[in-house]
């Protein structure tokens, strides 16, 4: 208990952990202290001087990112004095800034803009032509664009490449107000985590080449999800939008702070995997290559499954949620079909690293294993040779192995357009990973739940709803 001390913040007595960084404590109390350089993942640097607070007994305002909590400390984050200090420093941050918000992609999520709006508007005391000029729209590689004029030199990006990725691509060059961030002449960003600097950048100096000019952020909606790019299951924000006369579309993934899983960051591959959700979707149900209604396809599948339960192999995948896997496992137990989760194609040793990326490029193998769904190769091959009906559910194993379907009846459930559909007797599109709710268990046994926020004009049925429809159709027949 001796670690807990009493302090006063804005007149309110509170308990805090002795020695904690004051700014962290203020964040926890939902006190929004303006700051640029401090970031919990990167620690204190103290260069922006924005996070000043008044501490009784200190002659001068102190930066809260470099103030340890002490017993009896009396802190003021509000009041004319300290707000004036912040306005003054903000004015200096802006003095060489181009204030090009209308053409800046950061607008809407820019700290400089937020603080300026919060602090009250004022006329710039420096004409545009007197501002220090620097390079604009520098392509740093890895989808990152740099605008040196907008930079406030908080060094979050250089500290990220130095301390987090240890790739050291970025540095500060020159001195005084001519200081700029850049790479070594002729070199580009290399890290597989480079795009995190876009999120870290508190202003519009670093923007995503992939996202820039696509959308104004205030028009985007967002829901919490996980990345399906590997078995780490990094927590993300899914930013999407349903424009008038258009369908709901995902515009970007952003990392979501999660100390059980990914901390603050995600890898670039995962970040850009939102495209997979939008692209290359399977839209139509078909029987023997002829487009049919979902109803017709469902009836057809129910017929096949009811007729051959003992001759049917259901192949599920670690892309399915725990709930979906449980549903299908239960079906198998009740109906005498066989079940496999064989999916070696998702392993890719070259993808793994010592940060977040794992060698299993699927999100829920741990969930599949928890349900004891067999993924043994020998068992699978044996079953494949025995069974006449193969039901492939969101599993890409057969993508380049269609020859294995010889003399088989093939039913395909897929959210993706795939070559396999040409060899399948019945094809049924299903909702994609982010279009459905469900829980997933990552490689470290952390289970996370997704509640989808996507609202398609003509939503494709989820595997769960479709499978339940098949079950009731089968019962009708029985």
């Amino acid at each position: 208990m001796s670690n807990i001390v009493n302090i006063v913040i804005d007149g309110k007595e509170v308990e805090a952990e002795k020695g904690a960084v004051l700014i962290d404590y203020l964040f926890k109390q939902d006190i929004d202290i303006p700051h640029f350089c401090y970031h919990p993942a990167l620690g204190t640097d103290g260069n922006c001087r924005m996070c000043m607070v008044e501490i009784e007994g200190s002659k001068r305002p102190q930066i809260s990112c470099d103030t340890p909590v002490k017993e009896g400390m009396v802190v003021r984050t509000q009041g004319e004095n300290i707000e004036q200090v912040r306005r003054d420093i903000l004015e200096l941050e802006l003095i060489n800034h181009p204030v090009d918000c209308p053409t800046c992609d950061q607008a809407g999520e820019c700290k400089l803009q937020d603080y300026y709006m919060a602090g009250g508007f004022y006329e710039s005391r420096l004409e545009a032509e007197s501002k220090v000029k620097a390079k604009k729209a520098v392509d740093l590689g890895k989808n990152v664009m740099l605008d040196q004029e907008r930079c406030v030199l908080c060094t979050r990006c250089t500290r990220f490449t130095d301390e987090i990725t240890h790739t050291n691509e970025l540095g500060i060059f020159s001195r005084a107000d001519h200081s700029v961030i850049s790479t070594f002449p002729g070199q580009e960003l290399e890290s597989d985590y480079s795009m995190n600097i876009v999120d870290l950048c508190p202003v519009g100096a670093l923007t995503s080449k992939d996202f820039r000019f696509n959308q104004r952020v205030w028009f985007l909606e967002s829901f919490e999800a996980i990345c399906s790019g590997c078995s780490k299951g990094c927590s993300i924000h899914v930013d999407h939008k349903k424009e008038k006369y258009k369908d709901d579309q995902i515009f970007r993934f952003r990392p979501r702070e999660d100390h059980d899983v990914n901390g603050y960051f995600i890898c670039d591959d995962g970040r850009l995997s939102y495209k997979d959700e939008n692209d290359n979707r399977l839209n139509d149900a078909s029987i023997n290559q002829e487009t049919v209604s979902t109803k017709e396809a469902l009836t057809n599948i129910a017929d096949v499954l009811t007729a051959n339960p003992n001759d049917t192999l259901l192949l599920v995948s670690p892309f399915l949620s725990n709930e979906e896997l449980a549903l299908i496992k239960e079906y198998t137990l009740n109906n005498g079909t066989t079940l496999s989760g064989y999916s070696p194609q998702y392993y890719d040793e070259s993808f793994a690293d010592d940060m977040l990326r794992t060698s299993d490029r699927s999100p829920n193998r741990a969930g599949m294993m928890a349900l004891r769904i067999n993924e043994n190769e020998k068992d699978f091959n044996e079953l494949l040779s025995q069974k006449k009906v193969i039901v492939v559910i969101e599993n890409s194993y057969f993508e380049d192995k269609a020859e294995l379907f010889k003399d088989k009846k093939v039913i395909l459930f897929s959210s993706k357009d795939t070559k396999v559909k040409e060899f399948a007797n019945t094809v049924l599109p299903v909702a994609s990973f982010l279009e459905k709710d469900g829980s997933y268990t990552n490689s470290e046994s952390v289970t996370q739940h997704i509640k989808s926020g996507i609202r398609k004009n003509a939503p494709v049925g989820t595997l769960t709803s479709l499978w339940k429809a098949i079950e009731s159709l089968s019962k009708e027949k029985a």
Partner: protein
């Protein structure tokens, strides 16, 4: 990019000086001085070599080179004239000296004369305020300047070549 290497003598110096520090990191400024003494300036290729010698990355070297004003990131003329412009020198007439040099060498500060003989720099305080106005000629301090003194200096150095 061409590879840069220290001359054997400088490599030997590098190794000798390295022993004076607990960590190789401290060799950054001394090594860059060796490079500049060898080449007259510090090229990106040399920065890469320095980063290898110091077991660091080129970016760290580049950060340092651009921070310290004495490291040249482009070649200079045979003679480098650095005229102090700060307060005491200004009060004692450095403007006149700078104007004379600009006119005579037909260059602006930061430029090198067409014949490659002289690079003119106007610099901040060189710690020679008692001898104001002053300049450094290839690093050697020349104090209590008058236009005549500068004239003689230019003449002698041109003759010398």
């Amino acid at each position: 990019m061409k590879n840069f290497t220290l001359t054997p003598e400088n490599q030997e110096k590098f190794e000798k000086i390295s022993k004076r520090y607990p960590k190789i990191d401290s060799m950054m400024l001394p090594t860059l001085w060796l490079v500049q003494e060898q080449e007259g300036w510090i090229s990106p290729e040399a920065m890469i070599t320095v980063s290898e010698l110091l077991n660091t990355t080129p970016i760290r070297v580049y950060e340092v080179v651009t921070f310290y004003t004495m490291y040249n990131t482009k070649p200079t003329g045979t003679h480098h004239i650095e005229v102090c412009k700060t307060t005491s020198c200004m009060l004692c007439g450095s403007k006149e000296i700078i104007a004379y040099l600009e006119e005579t060498l037909e260059i602006k500060p930061g430029e090198t004369s067409a014949d490659g003989q002289f690079t003119l720099s106007v610099v901040e305080c060189l710690g020679s305020c008692g001898g104001a106005p002053m300049l450094a000629f290839n690093g050697d301090y020349v104090e209590n300047l008058t236009v005549d003194k500068v004239k003689t200096l230019l003449k002698e150095s041109s003759n010398g070549n």
